[in-house]
């Protein structure tokens, strides 16, 4: 029997004069004790779908059509007061950002008690006892009752939030990207907790995520969303063995994995259409490798290709073989890519020896230094031309501080950084500026890494001007060459960053770094903020550029599948120190330290890391 049935849900948002339709006819169901995953890239409408179920749409948003039945009662027919009893009672929801989802000025106990009072009528001693029971159920001790959110870690906050939402003993729990903001080891624990709670309580779980690996660990059935619609609906087993919709197939094909090392990743051209698009025919047609005339004129129906396996694609309608030929066709494009082992030159481009960055802790009346935070504490490694060294670690391990210290954006406390054999420590003024041309950085966030008030041409020219590398007259040609190299149109020169998508902005950031012809690129989580299909494009671009220019990459990341796909060597960082380093294949398959083992074990869907037999 189904607990939650969503039928033909449509959400509209009035944004100024425009009417957006971010959710456009979504139907799915969740059974008792079942986990359904709503899978999609950013902007596909999955979060709004969840908020619509809770009737918590943001201002300007409204449910335009459809129904949601919770145990046969239509939630959209309820009064606001009745809905208040459902929210946090029978239907609860947890959110992505544990940082901001809890009230900062109330203790954990106060926030749990509110829910207990609202849904169970508990107060006083009874509430206190129940709150302890809930905390223990999510793996927190009773001493956390009187803690404020700022005194908890990210994982603990997410646990506290889950405890609050369990207060009403919900029939269905909605989890909107519950682990996206967390470290991989914490993610594994929270996912395990959700799984256990679901089984103990017989809860339905709606898991909203962009991560195929998380889905493979958690879900019973999967709904794949694209441009406001569900394009594929199947059991997990069916979806992972025979994905039917070309979009789902592409999602699998673009994933970086150990067994795809040396191959070009498949990629998905274009971008997700916005919620104000007008569609004729199939919404995926513009990006579909298997597109044919009918897709452009006729909207595909939702076909049940095999029992329980639905796909919104003309190919799923009759001819099964056609669909699998398409799949094989673009499998073929991957084969034949360069898989040759790389050759490391002997002299390192970057050599870091015993580098340390300590921040003083000042206290008291005169702000005396009472201690130090050892953000980076004695790190040594080298990177050679044409080589990628991946620096892996969880948040707070010091990897970003390390990058900034290498670039001399902050002064190191001790140790030495040498670039092409020359130590940087003694360089000052002009000599240091010259040296800067040899190392550059690409940041994580494609939105804050480009000045919104400068044209792309000006952004690319900035480094050349600062380091006066080329005569002014030669710069325009060089800028066009750079745009060409990173795959952007030439007319980008006169446009502003906001006119580009996240992936394109990251290309601009790469071109900016390349403009001064560096020997070393520090890549600080360059694909973490991007969708997987875009990530594949950027990884391909980085591989091409490395091959062409013999660049040394220091690739800072927390994402092990990216590491396994592209790193030659890996260094694992924890608490400001490197705990293990070695060749990628060796380290990822036969880790020597317990911490590396823990990282590998925590990665969701870790099958992907291992080579396919």
């Amino acid at each position: 029997m189904s607990k939650l049935v969503v039928a033909n849900l449509r959400v509209e948002i009035q944004a100024g004069a425009r009417l957006l339709k971010p959710v456009d006819g979504v139907s799915f169901e969740i059974g008792t004790n079942e986990c359904v995953a709503l899978l999609g890239e950013s902007g596909c409408g999955k979060s709004l779908t969840a908020l619509a179920l809770m009737r918590l749409l943001p201002d300007g948003g409204r449910v335009a059509a459809g129904s949601v039945h919770l145990a046969d009662e239509n939630l959209f027919a309820f009064t606001e007061a009745q809905m208040g009893e459902v929210r946090g009672g029978r239907l609860a929801m947890i959110f992505q950002e544990p940082q901001s989802s809890l009230n900062p000025v109330m203790t954990v106990a106060e926030q749990i008690d509110e829910a207990l009072a609202a849904h169970r009528g508990l107060s006083g001693l009874a509430a206190a006892e129940e709150a302890v029971r809930l905390l223990e159920a999510v793996g927190l001790g009773r001493e956390k009752l009187d803690a404020y959110p700022f005194q908890l870690s990210g994982g603990q906050r997410q646990r506290a939030l889950i405890a609050m939402m369990l207060a009403g003993d919900p029939e269905v729990l909605i989890a909107d990207e519950p682990t996206t903001a967390l470290d991989v080891t914490v993610q594994a624990k929270i996912l395990k907790l959700l799984k256990e709670l679901r089984q103990q309580r017989g809860m339905g779980l709606l898991l909203i995520t962009h991560d195929l690996d998380v889905v493979s660990d958690m879900a019973d059935r999967v709904a794949v969303m694209y441009a406001g619609q569900i394009v594929e609906w199947a059991s997990r087993a069916a979806l992972y063995s025979t994905p039917l919709h070309p979009y789902t197939q592409k999602l699998f094909a673009v994933l970086p994995r150990l067994d795809r090392r040396g191959e070009r990743l498949d990629s998905l051209p274009g971008r997700v259409p916005g919620p104000d698009s007008v569609f004729i025919g199939c919404r995926f047609a513009d990006r579909c490798p298997a597109v044919f005339e009918r897709c452009r004129v006729e909207t595909p129906a939702f076909h049940e290709a095999t029992a329980g396996h639905w796909s919104r694609c003309h190919l799923a309608e009759a001819d099964q073989t056609l669909s699998s030929t398409v799949r094989n066709a673009h499998r073929i494009t991957q084969i034949g890519a360069d898989g040759a082992p790389y050759a490391v030159s002997l002299s390192p481009v970057l050599e870091v020896r015993d580098l340390a960055v300590h921040f003083p802790i000042r206290k008291g009346l005169l702000k005396r230094t009472v201690g130090h935070v050892k953000a980076v504490d004695g790190v040594s490694f080298q990177v050679a031309a044409g080589e990628t060294l991946a620096l892996v670690g969880e948040s707070g391990c010091g990897k970003t501080t390390l990058a900034r210290a290498i670039l001399r954006l902050i002064e190191p406390t001790a140790g030495q950084v040498s670039l092409l054999g020359e130590p940087l420590a003694n360089l000052r003024g002009e000599a240091l500026r010259r040296k800067r041309a040899e190392m550059q950085i690409v940041f994580q966030d494609p939105f804050s890494s480009l000045n919104p008030r400068m044209k792309v041409g000006e952004i690319l020219a900035e480094g050349m001007a600062a380091l006066s590398l080329l005569p002014v007259s030669a710069r325009p040609a060089r800028i066009l060459d750079l745009l060409n190299q990173v795959g952007l149109p030439e007319d980008a020169v006169g446009r502003y960053p906001h006119e580009f998508s996240g992936g394109q902005r990251q290309r601009i950031a790469i071109a900016r770094a390349l403009a001064v012809e560096p020997k070393l690129l520090i890549l600080d989580e360059p694909t973490s903020a991007l969708d997987v299909s875009v990530q594949a494009q950027i990884l391909n671009l980085l591989a091409d550029l490395q091959k062409k220019h013999g660049l040394a990459y220091l690739f800072i990341t927390h994402n092990l599948s990216v590491v396994s796909y592209l790193a030659h060597r890996v260094a694992v960082m924890r608490g400001g120190k490197i705990v293990e380093s070695g060749m990628a294949e060796t380290l990822l398959t036969r880790p020597q330290t317990p911490y590396t083992q823990l990282l590998l074990d925590s990665a969701p869907g870790k099958k992907a890391l291992l080579p396919v037999e």
Partner: protein, 325 residues
């Protein structure tokens, strides 16, 4: 905490010293005591003798920073800067041009000021917050839109018109209250009601709109969504969650003015004839009595710094993340 307070006191000294140097520069260096004497004597009576006499009567017949004629330590202390400026630090305000002791005047006049300013502050804060909460509760409806338009219209009217209009309607036309004046004791309320009412109405547009903006900003935050997802009623979300978090920016603007309530309002006191520090100041400005103006500047700065410390202390109560050390 003690440590923190000590540091704040130490930090206050250079600020007050800066204030003193600034006023001293304005009143004794840009303007010389000679200029002052000339203004006070009036064009007809200006003679070199009269100026010298006026200066010695009022204690302005000393050098600015260094007294070469004095002996020993007095070379540095028997100067205008020490006598007129540094003595303010021990709350020695000296005498006004009419010879009256400024410190005593302040002691007497702060009570009427407080009698008007305190009720205005408390009732005002409650009224503006309630009005803003009302608008926010009905956000997006016609009531909210109308309320905001009303606020903008009210804040576009000069404060002088509120006073003039209030006096005309409530005093002259309807005879509710005396138009101006003050008397201590039980009858004081008759004279208090109108100034308080007028100040309240004059401030409603600006403050309510500001508080509404703060609330709307808080409502957009993730924890409010969490609270609603828990199934809490809109009222509880508004009062418990939104108000609780908005208290932090509200306190920033509110607590700092509390110590200054003693100093009263210039406009209100002068229009309504309240014998408080506000009208004392305005009279001094109009009579160009620089001794009083200097004293009030110093007092105002001192109270402001106390206000800053109180603000910091109030944060520890509103925001568990703040610990003073």
């Amino acid at each position: 905490m003690l440590n923190y307070l000590l540091r704040r006191v130490l930090y206050a000294i250079p600020i007050l010293l800066g204030v003193n140097l600034l006023t001293f520069a304005l009143f004794f260096m840009v303007n010389t005591p000679d200029d002052m004497a000339r203004i006070h004597l009036g064009a007809k009576h200006v003679t070199a003798d009269a100026i010298t006499r006026w200066k010695s009567e009022h204690g302005y017949d000393k050098p600015l920073f260094f007294n070469a004629e004095a002996t020993g330590v007095e070379k540095a202390t028997d100067t205008l800067f020490v006598e007129k400026s540094l003595k303010l630090f021990v709350l020695d305000f000296g005498a006004a041009d009419d010879g009256r002791d400024i410190a005593r005047e302040i002691g007497q006049r702060m009570w009427p000021s407080l009698a008007i300013a305190l009720p205005t502050f408390i009732v005002g804060l409650l009224a503006y917050l309630s009005f803003a909460l009302l608008l926010v509760f009905f956000r997006g409806t016609a009531l909210d839109t109308g309320g905001v338009i009303l606020c903008v219209a009210l804040m576009s009217i000069s404060g002088l018109f509120y006073v003039i209009g209030g006096q005309y309607l409530m005093g002259k036309l309807w005879h509710w209250f005396p138009i101006s004046g003050y008397q201590p004791g039980l009858d004081a309320w008759k004279f208090m009601v109108m100034p308080v009412l007028v100040s309240l109405i004059g401030g409603i547009g600006d403050s309510s709109r500001f508080y509404r903006a703060l609330f709307i900003e808080e409502i957009g935050k993730d924890y409010v969504r969490t609270a609603r997802a828990k199934g809490l009623s809109d009222l509880r979300v508004l009062f418990k969650h939104v108000l609780g978090n908005a208290m932090i920016p509200i306190l920033t603007g509110v607590v700092v003015v509390i110590p200054r309530l003693f100093m009263g309002s210039l406009i209100i006191e002068s229009f309504f004839g309240i014998p408080g520090l506000g009208s004392y100041t305005i009279d001094a400005i109009q009579a160009q009595d620089f001794a009083i103006v200097r004293s009030m500047v110093f007092l105002g700065s001192l109270l402001y710094i106390i206000g800053l410390v109180l603000t910091d202390i109030s944060y520890t109560w509103a925001d568990p993340r703040v610990r003073l050390e």
